[in-house]
């Protein structure tokens, strides 16, 4: 019964979404206040309907209702409760429903948090979101039903893919999708502004927090995915440059560009057309990513089971949403008013450079991802584009980006001179240079340059704060007051930039990793990095739905003989799914990871893959710092936008009290 109710809720949501689109957009167009006022209510009710459908799916999973195809295929009675719940989005149909859920929540969020927006603009934004929602809900309803039944129901489900039985991956999709789909709000703002025929500083101010929120989530989502790949797949790396991973990187790159260009719109009313295009592009890349992952057109390690019918549907949806918005863009953008004159050498100019470089990286990643299928289509030849290509093309583009990142924030708006800016950063530049030289002396090669760049990013971010607070130049009291007075957005930007520096340091550190693959018998010792690894014993164990072989490894310092850690890498066999997974053991001290993965057993011994990864945790830690910086910046905006409203309300309340 519950699945049928869920199914009905999806159908209801389609109708609500369609009316949300028509009533809001038409109402805003005609200036009809009643229709405009209906928009938020419709967005909220759509979110409730989709939310109910999603809960119905989760509930079917929790009670192990195997008459629901999705539950039968991706869950089992023995699956732990957590994965019964997360199994809801561990498959194609469920993940699309999750996608719809987040999209409808975006609409509801605009309805709730967008009270300070002009009501017509808010109605248009909600309307555009409703239109996109309607398309995806129709897709769910027609060709991707998550709540379909089978008869007779099997007595036992087929179980969750063991690789997905992991807390990291369980929460990866919701976070990643929130980022992906969150860019729909920026997209809706872009389309709404085109419909309205005006983009101004206020538009920049409104669109930025939504973009920032989505960006924080996408950053965390990508980091979580790469971390999962690092500790779960047991191959010692963290990024495959796989099409599925690239699909999440593409919107991140343009989203980051949008984040920066929106600042220029807000502060200087320049780059308006460009920002609108970026907002459309970012969400389009999110959509295209969904399509690429699910159509089966790309060779990928982690693809969904694919089906050409679905591919055709998503492609048509893609064509309508992106094509429609780009047509509107071509038609309406030329009449947008230009404003905000600036010299090429200025803060705006630096942000333009940031945009050019970020978009170039995006273009390269997109080209590398799409080239093989297109070459096959046109020339009937199979080629591969893999990590070596991406590394050798992306790094040269990222290098100037990192260099300019430190310089940009200290340039002044409108017109700037480089010399004084550089003068303020001399100590950061000097320190970075010393690191590079020391690195070369220590025979680190290119990694030395990488560490220098990472330090440059961190120090120049710090320098900006120091500069703006006039620390060390003013008396400490004045500087402290200035520090406290700095807007949180400034801190946020500095923290995010420094976070990227930390992440880059981690990535550079990983290039210096040492590793070895050895066959060890109990009692054997091998040396990797500066550590001795001794296989103490090999034992068996069992979990709720798997059996395991567990190795006990004692790691000691090779020079002093001091005990460092005892590690338990394992190999799990899941009889139900007939699958084996490695359970990697990682021991970190914050500056290096000891990493051990178990392989096959062979004549009484076991094959071990052992890595010593310098600075590895910094990659994800840095990404977290970036997301935190974004959140910090976001909190500033909310205060600034929310404050007058709250103040007015409190004043009204005070007056009411006084009146009584």
């Amino acid at each position: 019964m519950i699945p049928e109710l869920g199914h009905f809720a999806i159908a209801l949501a389609v109708v609500i979404a369609l009316s949300q689109a028509i009533i809001s957009i038409w109402g805003a167009h005609r200036g009809d206040a009643r229709f405009i006022a209906a928009a938020p209510a419709l967005a909220l009710s759509q979110a409730m309907a989709v939310g109910f459908a999603f809960l119905a799916l989760v509930w079917s999973g929790i009670v192990s209702d195997f008459s629901v195809i999705n539950v039968a295929e991706y869950s089992s009675a023995r699956t732990p409760l957590l994965y019964k719940i997360t199994g809801a989005w561990g498959n194609h149909e469920g993940s699309i429903l999750l996608w719809c859920l987040i999209l409808s929540f975006c609409g509801a969020a605009v309805a709730v948090f967008g009270r300070n927006l002009p009501s017509a603009l808010r109605a248009r934004v909600i309307g555009v979101l409703g239109l996109v929602s309607c398309g995806f809900l129709l897709f769910t309803l027609t060709v991707s039903d998550p709540l379909g039944r089978i008869w007779p129901p099997p007595s036992e489900g087929q179980g969750v893919n063991p690789l997905l039985q992991d807390p990291g991956l369980a929460f990866h999709p919701p976070i990643l999708y929130s980022g992906y789909v969150g860019f729909a709000v920026a997209f809706a703002f872009a389309v709404a502004s085109l419909l309205e025929g005006r983009v101004d500083a206020a538009w920049g101010r409104w669109v930025r927090p939504w973009t920032l929120g989505a960006w924080c989530l996408l950053t965390s989502g990508i980091a979580l995915g790469s971390w999962w790949s690092y500790y779960e797949l047991g191959w010692g790396g963290y990024w495959f440059w796989d099409p599925v991973e690239n699909a999440s990187l593409l919107p991140w790159l343009t989203g980051t560009a949008l984040l920066h260009s929106a600042i220029v719109v807000e502060k200087r009313e320049a780059l308006k057309i460009w920002s609108v295009l970026l907002a459309i592009t970012t969400f389009s890349l999110s959509l295209a990513g969904t399509f690429m992952v699910r159509s089966g057109l790309l060779n990928s390690v982690h693809a969904f089971a694919n089906d050409p019918t679905r591919g055709v549907f998503i492609l048509a949806l893609l064509g309508l949403v992106i094509g429609g918005s780009l047509l509107l863009f071509a038609w309406r953008a030329p009449v947008l008013q230009p404003a905000g004159l600036f010299a090429p050498l200025s803060r705006e100019g630096a942000l333009v450079l940031n945009n050019i470089l970020l978009c170039s990286i995006m273009a390269v990643v997109l080209a590398g991802t799409m080239y093989p299928p297109f070459v096959q289509l046109i020339f009937d030849q199979q080629i591969s584009v893999g990590p070596p290509f991406f590394i050798s093309t992306v790094v040269p583009l990222a290098a100037p980006l990192m260099a300019a990142m430190g310089l940009g924030p200290v340039l002044s708006w409108k017109r700037a001179a480089v010399a004084p800016a550089l003068l303020r950063l001399w100590w950061a530049a000097l320190a970075s240079l010393i690191v590079v030289l020391v690195g070369f002396y220590g025979r680190l090669g290119w990694a030395a340059v990488g560490f220098g760049a990472a330090l440059w990013m961190v120090l120049s971010a710090l320098a900006e704060i120091v500069e703006r607070s006039q620390l060390f130049r003013q008396p400490i009291g004045t500087a402290w007051a200035r520090l406290r007075g700095l807007p949180r957005a400034s801190y946020g930007a500095a923290v995010a930039h420094a976070g990227l520096g930390v992440a880059v340091a981690g990535m550079v550190g990983m290039t210096l990793a040492s590793h070895s693959i050895v066959l060890l018998h109990p009692g054997d010792t091998t040396k990797v990095g500066n550590y001795d690894w001794r296989l103490v014993s090999l034992t068996s164990g069992a979990g709720s739905d798997f059996t395991a072989r567990i190795a006990t490894l004692a790691v000691t310092d090779a020079r002093t003989g001091q005990a460092i850690a005892t590690m338990y890498p394992a190999r799990r066999t899941f009889p139900l799914q007939q699958q084996t997974t490695t359970d990697v053991a990682i021991r970190t001290n914050g500056f290096r990871d000891l990493y051990a993965a178990l392989g096959d057993e062979r004549d009484g011994g076991i094959v071990l893959r052992i890595h010593v990864n310098p600075l590895a945790p910094w990659i994800w830690f840095g990404a977290l710092i970036m997301a935190f910086g974004g959140a910090l910046s976001l909190s500033d905006r909310r205060l600034r936008i929310g404050a007058p409203v709250r103040l007015a309300r409190r004043r009204a309340a005070d007056m009411k009290v006084a009146a009584e």
């Binding site: 047991g234 191959w235 004159l341 273009a363 070459v375 080629i383 591969s384 084996t580």
Partner: protein
């Protein structure tokens, strides 16, 4: 259910189902570290044909293991990187190369960074010129009555 069977069929088509990206046979590693490093460098530029998007070095599939062994034999036999790569391309085509060679077919691919940068620079240049030209001549749009009222309200408060 049909979908499932299809997926199962695909899986069994592969030489050996590689469940996790695990570990290879240590006996195939070369004892000479310089040679081993060379072999790894070659292998990390070759694609594992069975598992689609991993390098030969990262994969635990049977075919990848065999190709790893062949690379090491040839390194020991004193063949150059180029010869070893050519040996693989002769058998599996340029599909096996994770880094596609620069040839007429891949001009657009390898040219993509330059094309993107040039395009970006061109757009920026055009925009700067237009901005110069038009900012001088165009007055800001007049406010609508509603906006005027809001502005007045804001100024009053």
């Amino acid at each position: 259910m049909k979908r499932l069977r299809l997926a199962a069929g695909l899986l069994t088509l592969l030489l050996q189902v590689a469940p996790a990206f695990a570990v290879s046979d240590p006996s195939e590693l070369l004892s000479n570290p310089a040679m081993e490093a060379r072999a790894e460098a070659i292998g990390s530029h070759l694609r594992c044909l069975v598992c689609q998007n991993e390098s030969i070095e990262a994969s635990d599939a049977g075919l990848a293991r065999d190709i790893r062994a062949i690379i090491r034999q040839q390194v020991v036999a004193g063949r150059t990187d180029k010869q070893i790569t050519a040996y693989m391309v002769q058998r599996y085509g340029s599909f096996i190369l994770l880094e596609p060679p620069f040839e007429p077919l891949t001009v657009l691919l390898w040219g993509s960074p330059v094309i993107a940068l040039l395009l970006g620079a061109m757009i920026a240049l055009l925009a700067f010129r237009r901005q110069r030209r038009e900012a001088a001549t165009i007055a800001p749009a007049p406010l609508s009555p509603a906006e005027k009222a809001r502005l007045e309200a804001l100024l009053r408060s």
